[in-house]
């Protein structure tokens, strides 16, 4: 049995210093009050409509992401290291993206095989030689981090396409302040509610050269997208239009939106639509979500897309193992955050090892996301393992495997009372003239006992995340 790191308690039953004040409060809090507060939170989230649409069965229904009332607390010094590591990582990833769409030095230097980059499904040849403002590709990154032990953090994946979840970070904070105001007078919790301001600022500075007062819009696939709440929320908080593809059109390599007072030029598009759907003329022609001609306007430098087209190649699971190499190559620094050791099934030796250790490993689809199409060896049945074995043998290129990490636990309010559940953390990193973030991020928690999968589509919940100020 692996001993999991508990965020609040030490192995000998003591309480870690940064949780001591909270533990005292928890002792005096009646369980009935906590249960009532949790019910109140559910009710409020329903009424406010902070819900996500579900794919697959029950399609069309709106569901709540369960909110847990026990915060995840991060001490100041840990956050200092973590944020330095995140800054470093995102800088290197942006440098990598610029490089592979221009001179490809990292390939020439032999650090990454050319086929891994250029042959990647997410690599966009259309972007070769295209200059983007400030050389920023991933304006918004959501980097998933887990803790395995004291001071031991691993990056699980870098989300550089359209990372979501930041609205839950904000709503969870608002909910905690509403439910338990007394806790905030007993802790110096670093604020996060200004995230939309930082985002707006980053987007404005990303405007094409020469645009003095840029018009920023948020581009959504529409009301049936699972993250629609977040799209409306961010647009509203930034005070910009929330547009769909059909609201925009391209004329003379310029993007316009249709308004009640005529056409208005658009300079920066915070797009929450995948590359494939952005422009039916350039990518998937069956896309109803995109804007015909957008790529052409983008390449002409008349509009900025955030994130840029073609970032997917850098957060692809087959590229992930090379990120430490990127940090050394572009920044000349040693990585601050760890990468999880990764077996690449396209390598025969690795595949061999993986097939012999399926029961211990986590196997992921290279292009998968959202916890779909993944095998958690220790939790899987013999049948599931066999099915995955067949898929692996059939298409080894499509998979990577990693050792099952001993994800840390955090006390969580469940039906039986307070019990440990596994968590991860997704901080949101904004790149503009400088790299900025709000302290903490979104903590996701696997509500099922023993489960290591925190994705909301797989029964995960969220927690408020407190970075304590010194």
């Amino acid at each position: 049995m692996v001993a999991f790191y508990n965020e609040m308690n030490t192995a000998d039953g003591g309480v870690r210093p940064h949780y001591s004040e909270f533990a005292k409060w928890l002792q005096t809090a009646a369980p009935e009050r906590l249960a009532r507060k949790r019910a109140e939170a559910d009710l409020t989230f329903h009424r406010v409509g902070i819900t996500f649409a579900v794919y697959g069965e029950d399609a069309g229904k709106e569901r709540l992401i369960p909110f847990d009332i026990v915060p995840r607390i991060i001490p100041a010094d840990e956050w200092r290291d973590m944020s330095a590591g995140l800054r470093q990582r995102v800088k290197a990833l942006n440098a990598f993206l610029h490089d592979i769409y221009h001179d490809q030095e990292i390939i020439a230097a032999g650090h990454i095989p050319a086929a891994q980059v250029l042959g990647n499904r997410q690599y966009r040849p259309e972007m070769q030689g295209v200059d983007v403002p400030g050389n920023i590709y991933a304006h918004i990154a959501g980097v998933d981090i887990v803790r395995a032990g004291e001071g031991e953090f691993y990056v699980l994946e870098d989300n550089l396409r359209v990372p979501s979840g930041v609205s839950y970070m904000i709503e969870d904070r608002k909910m905690m302040m509403r439910l338990f105001p007394e806790l905030f007078s007993r802790h110096k919790v670093a604020p996060v509610l200004h995230y939309p301001d930082l985002l707006f600022d980053s987007l404005r500075t990303a405007a094409p050269d020469g645009v003095e007062d840029p018009t920023v819009v948020v581009l959504t696939p529409g009301a049936y997208n699972s993250a629609y709440f977040e799209h409306t929320y961010l647009a509203q908080q930034m005070g910009v239009e929330l547009v769909e593809g059909r609201d925009l059109f391209v004329r003379d390599d310029t993007v316009w939106m249709r308004t009640t007072r005529g056409d208005e030029r658009v300079d920066v598009i915070y797009r929450r639509i995948d590359d494939d759907y952005l422009d039916p003329l350039a990518f998937r022609e069956d896309s109803m979500l995109g804007v015909p001609g957008l790529l052409s306007a983008y390449k002409a430098g008349r509009v900025t897309l955030a994130n840029a087209i073609g970032t997917g190649v850098a957060d692809d699971k087959s590229i992930y193992p090379y990120v430490p190499e990127m940090i050394r190559f572009y920044l000349g620094e040693e990585p601050i955050l760890n990468n999880v050791p990764t077996y690449m099934c396209r390598k025969p030796d690795d595949l061999d090892y993986v097939l012999n250790h399926l029961g211990e490993l986590v196997v992921k689809e290279v292009h998968g996301a959202g916890g779909y199409g993944m095998l958690v060896g220790p939790a899987a049945s013999a049948g599931e393992i066999e099915r995955f074995r067949e898929r692996l043998i059939a298409e080894p290129d499509g998979y990577i495997a990693q050792p099952t990490l001993a994800l840390s636990n955090c006390p969580t309010f469940v039906d039986a009372g307070i019990a440990p559940r596994h968590i991860d953390l997704r901080p949101f990193i904004l790149s503009g003239e400088e790299v900025r973030m709000v302290p903490g991020g979104l903590t996701r928690v696997a509500l099922r006992e023993g489960s290591l999968v925190v994705n909301s589509s797989q029964g995960g919940g969220t927690k408020d995340t407190w970075v304590l100020e010194e």
């Binding site: 409306t232 647009a235 239009e241 929330l242 059109f249 939106m257």
Partner: protein
């Protein structure tokens, strides 16, 4: 503002207003059905509800008799009726959902909570204990939405499109209500049938009973009821009131291509403003109301073409 956003706002308010007026229409029909009368006469009143909304095909595909239970069920919650109160509230909420970033949090939450509560309403219980509580609830929710709008929303362009949707829909609905009830109560066009209860119920359906008393201080007569609902300048559900508001809102959102729609709205308003009820009744209330409803529909199409429809969507 985005044309699509304006379109959603316009339809959001139209659907909410329609749900409220449907509740009012059904409520008055229900109240009138409790006055002693023959079964045929009662069913005729319910039949009028179906005709009024041009729902004969959909209704008779499913039911054979226009009795209270069938019509109420069909108009309140039948999933096969796209014009039921439930359907209107759902469409109102869906339109609001599409622009929840444009309306205020209070407005959205009121609309969303309405939808959540609606799903807990039990149509069977309504049939057993009477639907009036439900109709009151619909009216109350609509009032809450109006209140949240008035109390929290910036009175900008977005607000004017909400206002336009509400007023044009209400004008049409009041005209419809008057048209159908007037002819049930005054089949020959004479001033003979002045049933206090029936007319009282009609006035209450548009929350105009007290207004009537204040305005006329005399017994209820059909022509005065008609005058109140069409030409009263400050009764919030009268045709004149609605048109005056619509003309104002149109002026505030005017763009390069909306001149003709403004002209037509202004002309219709002026005709009402200087009309006399005696003349209207002399040349036929039904004809007058039919013409009015056609012209309101024309205005809605004008608003749609001038502001809401994107060039490509129209092509």
């Amino acid at each position: 503002m985005l044309s699509r956003t304006a379109d959603h706002l316009f339809w959001m308010s139209r659907y909410i207003e329609r749900a409220e007026n449907l509740a009012r229409l059904l409520d008055v029909t229900w109240q009138m059905s409790m006055v002693p009368q023959s079964l045929d006469a009662a069913n005729q009143n319910w039949q009028a509800v179906i005709n009024l909304n041009s729902l004969e095909d959909a209704f008779f595909a499913k039911y054979s008799e226009t009795n209270a239970a069938n019509v109420l069920r069909f108009m309140i919650s039948d999933v096969d009726n796209p014009a039921s109160i439930t359907a209107c509230l759902r469409m109102g909420r869906e339109n609001a959902h599409a622009v929840r970033g444009t309306i205020t949090a209070e407005m959205w939450e009121t609309l969303n909570a309405t939808w959540i509560e609606l799903n807990t309403q039990n149509t069977d219980a309504m049939m057993t204990y009477g639907p009036s509580d439900f109709f009151d609830w619909v009216k109350l929710r609509s009032s809450l939405i109006h209140g949240a709008t008035l109390g929290t929303m910036l009175q900008d362009e977005a607000y004017q499109f909400i206002r336009l949707g509400t007023l044009l829909e209400r004008a049409d609905n009041t005209a419809r209500l008057l048209d159908v009830k007037y002819h049930v109560l005054v089949p020959t066009g004479e001033e003979a049938t002045t049933d206090f209860y029936q007319w009282g119920a009609l006035l209450r359906a548009v929350s105009a009973f007290e207004v009537y008393r204040k305005t006329f201080r005399t017994g209820i007569t059909p022509s005065r009821v008609a005058a109140l609902l069409t030409l009263h300048p400050s009764m919030p559900r009268s045709l004149l009131f609605c048109l005056r508001g619509a003309v104002r809102s149109l002026a505030l959102v005017a763009n390069d291509q909306s001149g003709e729609t403004q002209r037509r709205a202004g002309r219709l308003y002026s005709e009402l403003r200087y009309a006399r009820i005696e003349d209207i009744l002399a040349s036929g209330l039904h004809e007058f109301l039919s013409d009015f409803m056609d012209r309101v529909e024309d205005l809605c199409n004008g608003v749609s073409n001038d502001f809401l429809v994107t060039p490509q969507a129209a092509a």
